[in-house]
């Protein structure tokens, strides 16, 4: 048996359905973001932890030139090392039957018995390499999927200039290459890059590395001191051409994973509060209005002997909104989380990517929703409790209207005075509405600017920086005449050398390993640009740095930097920071090529050559690359850009789409509620005006005047605020390796304003329809 009071509750809910639904949707959006971001966070984390554990992911990594195998025994003597593997690792050109494009691959040699101590492989299909089989290969999952390869298929690799055929026997996943990108690229391209495992001897024979290794990975024993282990490894391998030993923090796959996890954490903690605050605010306004309009009913009920039931009655109203929001939000969140995970799959190659929604996240989300519901409803419910029947029987004290208006207002028609005084008598309410819309606009902008940012990144920044068609990187630095050799390859119109060398930068107690890119002032294909995309004049001495790097090291132009060159004789030099570079992806240092050569006290060397291609001869160029020894990797700029757009672009746009929907929900929720409240508040007055002979259009204009003025004010404020918020958000999302330009195109501003306008117009139509159907007689009878 439903009590009379509960019947009233149901009828109120039915009557205020539009408002309940919009508030619940705003709340649901916040909860959905919270749950989905945390689900992504936990899924990444869990999958990572499991795989690292199962595969014994290394703690420390070191590349070197060449060390004899017996040296490896000395690794065991370093205190703090638990297990280690030494191996051969080479970047090579891969040739797939039927694919003209030269592909890039990383070849990793497996120990003689095929068993890895650490960074163990997880077999996804097929089998491991047989003992003494020099012609078998394992490929990583991504590459196999990207090129539809199965055990039994053949693949060729260009090993030190000689083409060698391997048979694929298995497909694997490695904790070391969960996220795997070709050297010099930002994003995985499964069609074009993969990691390959072959027998140690297969590589040793091809590269004349018998009895030697060039790569060390190791795990720490419990309580090991990372710094001293790294230092000991450095010292041990310095004379074998060792680069610097580094921890997981600089391991590309791990770093990318951690960045992603952190970003989802940022998402879960920054965005939902905004949504929940907005919904609390809406609830507050709507319930305030509900109580105000039912004062007399409340008084009557109290006079009839009802007590706290009435407060409960209104609390239940809030509970219905929150419950609806929480249920929809949890379902939506779980689904959105799955969608996010699906977009992650091609990027992060775990043997098992498990969807991990922790039970506490929907519980916490629901609790947060209830907290915001309590926040929104408390004032109204307390007001109900405080109302004394006698007092409530009288209509509320009217606001103190004043007629001491400025003179010129006398020219204003009386019906407009009504609207103006309405706003002036309720400045708080008008301000809150304004605030609500002001929040909605930035949220929309925040969602749709991503497309601009992406386009800016690809079309403007990257295109202006790298104007080559392809980049050929060599196994090791070569004499300058290699540029001429490349120039002679078919299809090459123009070729330009660059020099890169690994360095360790030291400032006070901090150090950072990165690469220096040596380019010349006249460089055409690879340029260094400032934030206005103007080429930076490369000073004849000193170092330029990525802005993010200089900030990380706390450096300003003119400050001293200690540079250690990690190749060869490990020279150490003092130099100054000559300026910062506005590059978006990666962290590097830049220097004049001639200056760099002088600094390194060596003959001119070339690490890579950038080329412009004749598009009619690309196939010939591809074929030539496959025949050319010494090329370690080849990348195609346009292809990378396309890949970037298709992969990250798709993810970003999907997320942006979700958010735009959520943001428009907010805009609609706020505007609809404001208009609806204004309508309720003025229903009797509007009816009176209609009786006096005002037309429907005239009354609609009056009703919507307030909201139109508020929108007109709120949109510009919202856009300006939005721009600042975009900057702030990008700062929060900025990682060491990656930065998104705060480029907002005019179209995005227009689109944002339009979305708010459309939300407004939709709300007006929804309410206008009621105005149109106004039953004058019944309004007179009920005196709302």
């Amino acid at each position: 048996m439903v009590s009379a009071l509960d019947r009233k509750l149901l009828r109120d809910c039915w009557r205020l359905g539009g408002q309940i639904i919009t508030i619940a949707l705003v709340m649901a959006s916040g909860i959905a973001v919270f749950i989905s971001a945390l689900a992504a966070y936990h899924s990444l984390q869990t999958s990572q932890e499991r795989f690292y554990e199962e595969g014994r992911f290394a703690d420390v990594f070191l590349r070197l030139k060449r060390a004899p195998l017996p040296v490896a025994d000395r690794i065991a003597e370093i205190p703090g090392i638990a297990q280690y593997d030494v191996r051969l690792v080479f970047d090579v050109i891969i040739d797939l039957p039927g694919v003209s494009l030269p592909l890039s691959g990383r070849m990793v040699g497996l120990p003689a018995d095929g068993r890895l101590q650490i960074n163990k492989l997880h077999l996804m299909a097929g089998r491991m390499i047989g003992a003494d089989r020099l012609d078998e290969v394992l490929v990583t999952q991504g590459f196999a999927e990207g090129n539809a390869l199965r055990p039994g298929d053949m693949v060729s690799a260009l090993l030190n200039g000689r083409k060698q055929r391997f048979q694929i026997v298995g497909v694997v996943a490695s904790p070391e290459y969960v996220f795997s990108v070709a050297p010099g690229e930002a994003l995985p391209d499964d069609k074009r890059y993969g990691v390959f495992y072959v027998a140690h001897d297969a590589l040793a024979h091809a590269f004349a590395m018998e009895g030697a290794f060039n790569d060390v990975v190791a795990t720490y024993s419990p309580g090991a001191n990372a710094r001293s282990v790294e230092a000991a490894l450095d010292q041990l391998f310095a004379r074998w051409g060792g680069l610097v030993a580094h921890g997981r923090g600089q391991q590309p796959s791990h770093r990318q994973l951690m960045d992603e996890v952190r970003q989802q954490g940022t998402m879960a903690t920054t965005i939902p509060p905004v949504f929940l605050l907005v919904s609390a605010f809406l609830l507050r306004v709507v319930m305030g209005r509900l109580v105000a309009s039912q004062r007399e009913q409340i008084a009557t009920l109290k006079a009839l002997g009802y007590g706290s039931e009435i407060s409960w009655h209104f609390a239940k109203f809030a509970a219905i909104v929150v419950t609806l929001g929480a249920v929809v939000g949890v379902v939506l969140g779980i689904m959105t989380g799955q969608a996010i995970l699906a977009t992650y799959r091609p990027f992060f190659r775990f043997p098992e990517f498990t969807y991990d929604v922790r039970l506490w996240t929907p519980l916490a989300a629901t609790a947060l929703a209830f907290a915001s519901g309590v926040g929104g409803a408390l004032a109204a419910v307390r007001e109900v409790g405080r109302l004394r029947p006698a007092e409530a029987m009288r209509p509320p004290a009217p606001p103190a209207y004043t007629s001491r208006d400025p003179r010129f207002w006398h020219a204003v028609p009386a019906r407009w005075m009504m609207a103006i005084r309405g706003v002036m008598a309720h400045p708080l309410r008008a301000g809150l509405t304004l605030g609500g819309i002001v929040t909605a606009a930035p949220l929309i902008l925040l969602s749709i600017f991503w497309t601009d940012a992406l386009n800016n990144m690809i079309d403007v920044q990257l295109a202006a920086t790298d104007r080559s068609d392809a980049v050929l990187a060599f196994v090791e630095p070569l004499p300058p005449r290699v540029t001429d050799e490349v120039r002679r390859l078919p299809g090459v119109i123009f070729a330009e050398p660059i020099r890169t060398t690994p360095v360790r930068l030291r400032v006070a107690t901090q150090s950072y390993e990165t690469g220096v890119l040596g380019i010349s002032r006249e460089q055409q294909l690879r340029r260094v640009l400032d934030e206005h995309l103007a080429p930076i004049d490369i000073k004849s001495d000193g170092l330029l740095m990525s802005r993010r790097l200089s900030e990380k090291l706390g450096l300003r132009s003119g400050d001293e930097v200690d540079v250690e060159f990690l190749e060869g004789r490990r020279l150490r030099r003092e130099t100054v920071l000559a300026g910062t570079v506005n590059d978006l992806i990666g962290v590097s240092a830049y220097a004049d090529r001639i200056w760099l050569d002088r600094f390194l006290q060596e003959d001119r060397r070339v690490s890579a050559v950038l080329v412009r291609l004749d598009s009619a001869q690309t196939e010939d160029f591809y074929a030539a690359v496959k025949r050319t020894p010494k090329i370690a990797t080849v990348s195609f700029t346009a292809r990378s850009m396309r890949n970037f757009r298709e992969t990250t672009g798709a993810v970003v746009l999907l997320m942006a789409g979700f958010f735009t929907l959520f943001a428009i929900t907010i805009a609609f929720g706020v505007v609809y509620n404001s208009a609806r409240i204004a309508y309720h508040e003025h229903a009797l007055e509007l009816a009176t005006l209609r009786i006096l002979g005002l037309t429907k259009l005239e009354t609609a204009r009056l009703l919507f005047a307030e909201i139109v003025i508020e929108i007109a004010l709120a949109i510009p404020i919202g856009l300006v605020l939005g721009r600042s918020l975009v900057r702030l958000l990008l700062l929060a999302f900025e990682t060491e390796m990656f930065e998104i330009p705060a480029a907002i195109g005019p179209a995005s501003y227009v689109l944002t304003a339009l979305s708010v306008l459309v939300a407004t117009i939709a709300s007006m139509i929804a309410i206008g329809r009621q105005l149109w159907r106004f039953d004058l007689v019944s309004v007179l009878k009920t005196r709302a």
Partner: protein, 235 residues
């Protein structure tokens, strides 16, 4: 013989509540002539308000005919009814329906802003004896004063008809008289056809004719030889 202004023939208004039919007006016939002061009496639920609302263009009938001069009030569209109210009708209700955020003068100006040949708001207010209270908000006025503002608002456009639904219902006898006096004044000065609904039989004395309603019909019409002056009415 004065011209006929309101004519209703066989006028019915049926409400459907669930499966039940409630006839608020059943086949009602009525004639009202220009400048007449009519008082409508009748038990609660007899259809007085319904009739008044239809004559005022606020509501539409279910069947039958009703016209004000050459305006057909039954077949009229919403827009036509709005225009009819705007140009010809003044309303006064038991609840004064003033806009709380507007002063007395501005409440009247609401109508004069849109009317074709209005009085000045000040003149309308002065006619109901409120010269001194023009710039006061409704919350600063007594019930009787508020009702007089409502009358001023209703007459400011020089309406052809003035329709009043229990204008004194919420007022005491003395205050009620001032309101009635204002109505009487307007009726005499401008020849405005006036219909007043009341439960107060005493008021019937000031009418030209008194119509008694029962069961959705005009059951009886009494004609007063002599209209009583409002000041002489007591209850």
């Amino acid at each position: 013989m004065k011209p006929l202004v309101f004519a209703a023939h066989s006028l019915s208004k049926i409400y459907h509540v669930g499966s039940v039919e409630i006839a608020a007006l059943r086949e009602l016939d009525l004639n009202i002539f220009e400048g007449e002061f009519i008082v409508l009496l009748g038990p609660s639920g007899s259809g007085k308000s319904t009739l008044l609302n239809i004559l005022g263009g606020l509501d539409s009938a279910t069947s039958g005919a009703a016209a004000w001069r050459d305006h057909n009030l039954v077949a009229a569209s919403d827009e036509e009814l709005t225009l009819y109210r705007r140009q010809h009708v003044g309303f006064v209700f038991q609840s004064y329906n003033l806009i709380p955020s507007l002063t007395a003068r501005e409440n009247v100006a609401l109508v004069t802003d849109i009317a074709e040949r209005p009085m000045k708001p000040e003149d309308a207010l002065s006619r109901v004896g409120l010269d001194a209270r023009m710039d006061h908000f409704p919350s600063q006025l007594s019930g009787g004063e508020q009702q007089r503002v409502a009358i001023a608002r209703a007459i400011a456009k020089r309406p052809d008809v003035l329709l009043c639904d229990e204008p004194t219902g919420a007022l005491d006898s003395r205050t009620g008289v001032t309101v009635l006096a204002a109505l009487d004044e307007v009726n005499r000065a401008f020849g405005t056809t006036t219909i007043v609904i009341t439960h107060n039989i005493a008021i019937a004395a000031m009418a030209d004719r008194v119509m008694h309603m029962a069961d959705g019909q005009v059951a009886r019409v009494d004609e007063n030889k002599q209209r009583a002056r409002p000041e002489d009415i007591r209850w």
